[in-house]
């Protein structure tokens, strides 16, 4: 075997944990999508929209997203440093504690233990748990980097270092709170400051969980899956440093036209526009990597996932800064447009890249061939179609709602009641639900394909 001493059981454990939380998170997502046009589904307090929505976001962001990141990180770290994991037992404890924490998170959120700060809703005992889990991960990250046998750190490792450092800063600063009881706390910040800290956190937690490590996967697995070297090393250096520098200035574009001081909002707009450059640096690096080999879009099923994924990343990073502009934000903010925006990133970019990374990685670590390329193609088209129906519907609905909120009669009075605007969205909510079902079927096919892959007999012994 060429894999001398690499620790792959943790990689596999996290990969299947990711799959599990993905399915759970999507079921919750479908449930709340249904509640949006049929409130009869709010059967008990535990299943009411207000509580379940955070189970959906945390289950997918923390459960699926983080597990996928841990799986691929433990794999990439070992491969890129040509070094076995220094503390494999620690990583195994990390795996079990992680799943216990996500399960507790889901239960506590359904029970209403919720700080309301978006993507930081967990109450303080779980916050401490998250920090401990992160330290356990970081110990292996830095130990393997220090012990590494490969002198140069490849691009993906830069992104993993930046993620490890930044998530720690973000999580700790935003979750500073004073406990009232074991299950209840109050933020140490008040009002406008609390909002500013929260959206600095929320914007960047999305950035450093849904962008930075996913770019690490992209830069590693795209060349691996296609056999093509990354187009420009220099472009990746410029993109990396300008991305991590500019990201942290932009949180306040979520607070446009609120009582937050105007200068913070304006600075956020400026840096948001700037962010288009490093984001598209990675997009172009991806496209040019396939230069001259575009036939792989037909011949290599993984190339489709990566190229469509980076395309949605590119669209996402154009749409984001534009809807941050004050005038456009006045129209779009608080509507379903933004919900569509978020889901293009998560359903289009993040899931596409993690799917393809798993398709490449799972056969490698288990010594088996992928069960079915054909099913992987079906999975691809289902999640692509489901996502497009989902997001485009929400954009149209968002434009409609924004327009109805603003519409006035010739005498200057409002043309529509709030309820008029809401009920006009119900047809869109039904279509959105249907798109979600299509997407969910695609994910079930993905899961089936991976499970069947590891259940096969190992391929004839690898040389």
């Amino acid at each position: 075997m060429k894999d001398n001493g690499y620790e792959y059981s943790v990689v596999r454990g996290f990969a299947f944990s990711a799959l599990f939380w993905l399915v759970v998170g999507l079921i919750v997502g479908l449930w709340i999508a249904f509640e949006m046009f049929n409130p009869a589904l709010n059967i008990t307090p535990w299943l009411s929209f207000g509580r379940l929505r955070v189970v959906h976001t945390n289950g997918l962001g923390l459960g699926f997203g983080l597990a996928g990141i841990f799986a691929t990180s433990y794999y990439m770290l070992q491969r890129l440093t040509r070094t076995p994991l220094p503390f494999p037992k620690l990583a195994k404890v990390h795996l079990w504690l992680f799943n216990a924490a996500i399960a507790l998170a889901a239960i506590s959120l359904m029970a209403g233990m919720n700080t309301t700060k978006e993507y930081a809703e967990l109450e303080w005992p779980l916050d401490i748990g998250v920090v401990i889990l992160w330290v356990m991960f970081a110990v292996n990250v830095f130990a393997i980097l220090i012990k590494r046998r490969e002198k140069q750190m490849y691009i993906s490792l830069w992104y993993l270092i930046a993620m490890t450092v930044t998530i720690a800063v973000l999580y700790i600063v935003n979750n500073l709170e004073v406990p009232v009881t074991l299950f209840k706390s109050y933020s140490i910040y008040a009002g406008a400051n609390d909002a500013n800290v929260e959206w600095w956190y929320a914007h960047n937690i999305v950035g450093f969980i849904f962008t930075v490590p996913v770019l690490a996967m992209f830069y590693y697995f795209l060349p691996k899956a296609t056999g093509l070297p990354i187009y420009s090393h220099r472009l990746s250096i410029v993109s990396f440093w300008s991305l991590i520098f500019a990201y942290l200035w932009t949180g306040a574009h979520h607070l446009m036209l609120t009582p937050l001081p105007e200068w913070i909002q304006t600075v956020a707009i400026a840096f948001s526009i700037f962010l288009i450059a490093p984001s598209w640096g990675s997009v172009m690096n991806g496209y040019y990597t396939l230069q001259g080999n575009w036939e792989q879009m037909r011949s290599n099923y993984l190339a489709k996932f990566f190229i469509l994924g980076i395309t949605f990343y590119g669209l996402q990073t154009l749409q984001g800064p534009l809807q941050g502009l004050r005038t456009l934000n006045a129209f779009f903010h608080y509507t379903d447009w933004v919900v569509g925006h978020v889901h293009m990133g998560t359903m289009g970019w993040v899931t596409m890249i993690i799917s393809a990374s798993f398709y490449y990685m799972i056969p490698k670590i288990t010594g088996r061939e992928i069960y079915s390329i054909r099913l992987a193609n079906v999975h691809f088209w289902f999640i692509l179609a489901g996502q497009l129906v989902w997001t485009i519907t929400m954009w149209i609905g968002g434009i409609q709602q924004g327009a109805m909120w603003k519409a006035t009669n010739p005498d200057g009075s409002l043309m529509y009641s709030f309820l008029d605007g809401l009920t006009s969205l119900y047809p869109y909510y039904r279509i959105r639900f249907a798109g979600g079902v299509v997407y969910f079927i695609g994910i079930l096919i993905f899961g089936w394909n991976l499970i069947q892959t590891v259940r096969q007999r190992p391929a004839t012994a690898e040389a």
Partner: protein, 223 residues
């Protein structure tokens, strides 16, 4: 390339790079009084209102309702005077929200009588057939837990004595259980018999609803 073979230096440099924007746009504003002004017309929540706010938090109402009116013409027409920073001086955490599935609530206080809220919380669909808001009638079946009320107000720094907190709770209980309470009929309708003489979670969340934007409205009325 030097730095790409030095992981610790790389990590430290990354930390410095991400902290620049953080310090300028987040840490420095924390120290500027202009970011979170305090004005005397904005009063802290009473113990009952704070308990109601915690129920609002527990139920995740912020997932569908915002609490900031933006300075836009149609928004002021729809909800009232736009929101100012000083109104949120006692908000820990802030509850501005990010999505308006339901309307903004920052100017809700005093807009409807308590009876409207009792009825609406019990069954939003009975008042607006097509509303998608979950029903919250079960809040009226939960006795309000006030065992931590004093601790909560002191952590929030509202400056009440334990006696004052008890008084606020007793006063509000007396108000909603009085025979001449203007919303008595509706309250009795939604509240189980054995709790009609006590404070329920429903009473508290309605007290909180009625506080939202109240200080601004009384300031305007006094002008």
């Amino acid at each position: 390339m030097g730095i790409n073979s030095k992981p610790v230096v790389f990590a430290v440099l990354s930390a410095v790079v991400i902290l620049i924007g953080t310090v300028v746009t987040v840490f420095v504003p924390l120290l500027m009084p202009s970011t979170q002004p305090v004005s005397s017309y904005v009063k802290p929540y009473t113990a009952v209102e704070l308990e109601g706010r915690d129920i609002y938090i527990r139920e995740g109402c912020n997932n569908c309702h915002t609490q900031t009116v933006r300075p836009l013409r149609t928004e002021v027409l729809r909800y009232g005077e736009y929101s100012k920073a000083e109104e949120f001086a006692y908000d820990r955490p802030f509850l501005w929200g990010s999505r308006r599935t339901g309307p903004d609530l920052n100017r809700l206080g005093g807009k409807y009588p308590d009876s409207w809220h009792y009825k609406h919380m019990q069954s939003p669909q009975s008042m607006f057939e097509l509303s998608n808001m979950p029903p919250y009638g079960w809040l009226a079946a939960n006795r309000l837990d006030t065992s931590n009320s004093f601790r909560k107000t002191s952590i929030q720094g509202f400056g009440y004595t334990e006696q004052q907190v008890k008084q606020q709770i007793a006063d509000y209980q007396a108000r909603v259980t009085a025979s001449n309470y203007d919303s008595k009929t509706t309250r009795d309708l939604v509240t189980p018999t054995n709790l009609r003489g006590e404070l329920t979670e429903m009473d508290a969340i309605i007290a909180y609803m009625q506080k939202l934007g109240r200080d601004v409205k009384s300031l305007e009325a006094g002008r």
